[in-house]
Symmetry: C2
């Protein structure tokens, strides 16, 4: 790969680093490990998709799903990035970023305050999915990525809905993870300061599901929602 | 403002819409209300910052703070976007996006599955903050935005730390919020389907603070962390 800084010690299960996936600072926080990248991607379902419009950056939140080494996003065929990707040849250059916030790191010094996080940044070209079977599978994956098991327990998209939906594919080629974990990194001379220091864990949690008012009263909460 | 589509009915407390802040679809989900935008921005502390490098989009997660009608982000003076903004004249064109996920919307049809969310998208030019007093205030705001009250209860940055930190300012001029709230929007003919339908609330929650191992045993948890 052009611009690669891959070294012989890089395991085969890693994405080859490139000029733009090697950070200029805190390189120790970067990882190219495939399993780690997949785990971070699979735990979230909203990404921030960046593209360039009229020379300026645009960043929009959107749902995504991973199928093997492919990511899919979808939207109305009328939405700007979807239209742009459909019209561009070979596709739309994008940067897709996923971030989990895991903790607030409160150091004794303002400077060393930080966030524990795990993020994945994917660079590539998003291509319009035109194959009907791939499109159907991608749409199922998008539903199942948010609630595993749900795609089989809902009415599949009909022809009209399929025609109104555009799906983009982004291959996982140029990918990096970045993460900060652990505790406070204060300067030794600050350790005696009186300020409380430590980490406040942050989590995403789910509340009790709220049934649709039109739902029949005897409709059981499905198993795939019991654990949430 | 150039490209403005503002109408006389737009209240003075709203950001004037522009070509790029009026969505091509679901315009009913867009808002330019200043108070709503501020509330969405103040509830989060990690944004996704997009910029263009070598013609391609880059999206990175980063902390931010709001001070009135200004947003601040910070980073190492060695990091790419901070360096680019310092070198560019008048600054670095960016798109800064903040998203809260509030619920998973499970419709009877796959097509109508959705997410309840609130997002803010800010377009503009990020400028390097060179005034020392503004820089100090911005750094305090960045700490207080994550944990209100914390800046006064930590050691302020010293000269070396200030010199190592770059701060960018982005004015809130071209801004829009977008949100989806409420329940399921199924087609009338789907209401009799047997699938469970409803909304699963999503929240960000905080765990019990974990003190730094080097912390003196009698250091009390500060008031500003009691509520979390």
């Amino acid at each position: 790969m052009q611009g690669s800084t891959q070294t012989p010690s890089q395991p085969a299960t890693a994405y080859p680093p490139t000029d733009r996936t090697v950070p200029t600072r805190s390189p120790d926080r970067a990882s190219y490990d495939r399993e780690l990248v997949h785990a971070i991607l699979d735990e979230a379902y909203v990404c921030h998709l960046g593209f360039v419009r009229d020379g300026a950056p645009v960043v929009l939140p959107t749902l995504y799903a991973r199928v093997g080494e492919r990511l899919y996003v979808h939207g109305s065929t009328g939405s700007r990035p979807l239209r742009a990707a459909g019209q561009a040849d070979p596709g739309l250059p994008v940067c897709l970023t996923v971030t989990h916030v895991d903790g607030l790191v409160l150091a004794r010094s303002a400077f060393h305050h930080s966030i524990n996080y795990r993020s994945v940044v994917v660079h590539g070209v998003a291509r319009d999915v035109t194959d009907p079977e791939e499109k159907r599978q991608a749409l199922d994956a998008l539903v199942d990525h948010v609630v595993p098991g749900r795609a089989a327990d809902s009415r599949p998209a009909n022809k009209k809905e399929l025609a109104a939906t555009a799906v983009l594919r982004l291959d996982l080629d140029e990918v990096s993870a970045k993460l900060r974990t652990g505790g406070v990194n204060d300067e030794p001379e600050d350790l005696a300061l009186p300020h409380w220091a430590g980490v406040v864990p942050v989590r995403r949690t789910y509340g009790t599901p709220i049934p649709d008012p039109a739902l029949a009263a005897d409709t059981a909460l499905p198993d795939y929602l019991q654990g949430r």
